[in-house]
């Protein structure tokens, strides 16, 4: 009897059903990728035609690297992870391509206005590096289960990365938040990578502690208050996330880490009480912080009253938020078309506010398309987790997928004034190397996990059907 991991047994080879299924998902991925890179070419061509009114060879500079690497990744998946989910890669490529086009479009506006701070080419370089990182994960990580050996090491790495911006020389404060490392002119946001390391740690930790967290009263309607000592780990992570809030002055980062932890506890134990308690604790902490810290209360005031003259004129006030909202209103339902709007009026239009820039030029119809893409990406990630038989993979895939979802919520919610604005980046869209690398690593891990998830979920079909 083959077990879940012995599924590559030779008898699987004489099963015609498998022979058909494997190439089908990869062929689908190939077709979707062609559509995705075609979409990117369309965007870039539209941008060039509507802003400089002529197609230049620069088009290929922005189009080829992403398209070429997407097809390379596709080829690698065919060879190394043929059972991987076919939808994740095309969705990631479309999102990355949309971001790249918008950044290029903002660069053209900057050039037209005589500015010199360009992000497009850097973004191309970072995209290439990030996709290479995803490819390296698919090639060199034989199984994500190998990450389970390094659970406590990843906690250490996560904590070091998270706290590294506090270091005296290389740490750097940008726009009031101390989230960056600056080495030789290159700035890097280590918190993005810490997100992955900490998700690995949370998943590994909770697999071991699941029993003790879940064991009391799970069957009794689920609404039984956990004993005080079971709340210990939550209190620890809560304190750590408040420390991040106080030291680094960023509400979004601390909410992201705490949120991932709470959701993983919920997935591991199935007890909603942890979510309720966790949300209550975070809200309490944030409320207290908003009373004590000017930075937080200022952000909350800008969020509630962005159009008051006082907030609008204040340094670090609501000018950016209000401009973003004006831009989105300018876009209306169908948008101004790429190159037709004036998204460059918003400060940081290429990074923090890229969602507002896209909303202005693609309109409500385009915004819903982007949100649907994120929804599908996250849903695939959670499905991968769900279909996996072992708990570590379940928690890891769910945690990684949820980190994208929560980050989208925090950033897009901030831009659209659903929650207070914070300094996180829109996954895969925004300009910024660390964010791109971190998110492509997540894509690589999800692809790697999904490769073994497919085998695990259909054991009967794959490993045992052969001899029937």
């Amino acid at each position: 009897m083959t077990n879940l991991f012995g599924t590559t047994a030779p008898n699987a080879a004489n099963l015609p059903r498998i022979m058909r299924v494997v190439p089908r998902s990869r062929n689908l991925e190939g077709a979707l990728l062609l559509l995705a890179v075609g979409l990117n070419a369309f965007q870039l061509a539209q941008i060039q035609l509507s802003t400089i009114e002529v197609l230049t060879p620069e088009f290929f500079l922005y189009w080829l690297p992403l398209s070429f690497l997407a097809l390379v990744l596709h080829a690698i998946l065919r060879l190394r992870a043929s059972e991987a989910d076919p939808l994740i890669l095309p969705i990631a490529v479309v999102l990355n391509g949309l971001g790249l086009s918008m950044i290029y479009r903002l660069d053209l506006a900057t050039i037209a206005n005589g500015g010199s701070e360009l992000f497009g080419f850097k973004q191309v370089i970072w995209t290439s590096l990030a996709m290479a990182a995803a490819a390296a994960i698919v090639i060199y990580v034989p199984s994500h289960l190998f990450l389970r050996r390094y659970v406590y090491l990843s906690m250490l790495i996560g904590a070091v990365l998270l706290l590294s911006p506090m270091l005296p020389v290389i740490g750097k404060t940008i726009n009031g938040a101390r989230l960056w490392l600056s080495i030789g002119g290159l700035t890097f946001q280590p918190g993005e990578l810490a997100k992955i390391a900490l998700t690995i740690f949370f998943a590994g930790y909770l697999v071991n502690r699941r029993e003790s967290l879940a064991v009391v009263g799970r069957k009794i309607l689920g609404i039984r208050i956990p004993r005080a000592r079971e709340l210990g780990p939550i209190v620890m992570i809560w304190a750590a996330s408040l420390l991040v809030l106080i030291l680094q002055r960023d509400l979004g980062t601390s909410l992201l880490y705490f949120g991932i932890f709470i959701v993983l506890i919920y997935v591991a134990t199935g007890r909603s009480i942890y979510v309720i308690v966790g949300m209550g604790m975070f809200l309490t902490g944030a409320l207290v912080a908003s009373r004590l810290m000017d930075y937080v209360s200022g952000r909350i005031d800008s969020w509630l009253n962005p159009f008051s003259q006082q907030n609008y004129d204040a340094v670090g006030g609501s000018y950016q938020l209000a401009q973003g909202i004006f831009g989105m209103a300018h876009g209306g339902i169908q948008g101004t078309g790429l190159g037709g709007g004036i998204p460059q009026l918003v400060p940081l239009a290429e990074s923090d506010f890229i969602f507002a820039s896209l909303a202005e030029e693609l309109g409500l119809v385009g915004v819903f398309a982007i949100l649907t893409l994120y929804l599908l990406l996250v849903a695939r990630g959670i499905r991968i987790g769900f279909s996996h038989p072992d708990d570590f993979s379940k928690l890891l895939a769910t945690g990684l997928a949820f980190s994208i979802a929560l980050q989208c919520f925090i950033v897009i919610g901030g831009v659209t004034r659903v929650v207070p604005l914070t300094g996180l980046t829109t996954p895969l869209l925004a300009a910024g190397g660390s964010s791109l690398i971190a998110n492509w690593i997540i894509i690589g891990l999800l692809l790697r996990i999904s490769d073994s998830a497919r085998l695990g979920s259909s054991t009967g079909e794959n490993s045992r059907g052969g001899a029937a």
């Binding site: 009897m1 979409l39 369309f42 948008g335 038989p389």
Partner: protein, 169 residues
């Protein structure tokens, strides 16, 4: 470019974006639909390998009605209805399926009430039988403890430790 051309380009970009999304959704839909087709193919193939058309009732289970169809050809999957993996499914083929805490079990039941090799499901004469492997806390079929191997009918609960599963068509 003229106003009209810009408008057409603008609209077609949004259209292509949504075409991409709908092709992804249609793949997801085809995934679900495709699995159904596979199941039907498996069902159509099943009778060819049936060893005996007769469904004998197991000892200790006199209540097996003769009108009930044999579970062997109907049950295509095992669905967990209670426990840590609620909702998880395992496809059944015609080989035996082991249940227990050990990692090499086909259905790994990870709780302290289950034994290392707790029970197994075996297809005999086109009926799925549950056999308790002398487990500490026992295996329960439809509420009663399983002594000798008993026939598992479709949609009947089988409890192993804290996990409950059913065979479904």
């Amino acid at each position: 470019m003229s106003e009209l051309a810009l408008f057409i380009v603008r609209m077609s970009l949004l259209a292509v974006l949504w075409i991409f999304i709908f092709s992804i959704i249609s793949v997801i839909r085809a995934d679900l639909f495709g699995q159904k087709v596979l199941t039907r193919v498996a069902e159509a193939n099943a009778p060819q390998v049936v060893s005996s058309p007769i469904a004998p009732s197991a000892p200790g289970q006199p209540s097996v009605p003769l009108v009930s169809e044999p579970t062997g050809s109907n049950a295509t999957k095992l669905v967990i209805t209670e426990g840590d993996r609620t909702g998880h499914q395992i496809k059944l083929d015609r080989r035996e399926l082991t249940i227990g805490r050990s990692d090499d079990s086909d259905l790994v039941v990870d709780d302290e009430y289950a034994s290392t090799h707790h029970a197994k499901l075996v297809l005999i004469n086109n009926d799925w039988l549950i056999q308790d492997l002398n487990s500490t806390n026992g295996t329960y079929l439809d509420g009663g403890r399983v002594g000798t191997p008993a026939v598992v009918k479709l949609n009947t609960s089988v409890r192993v430790g804290k996990t409950v599963f059913e065979l479904r068509a």
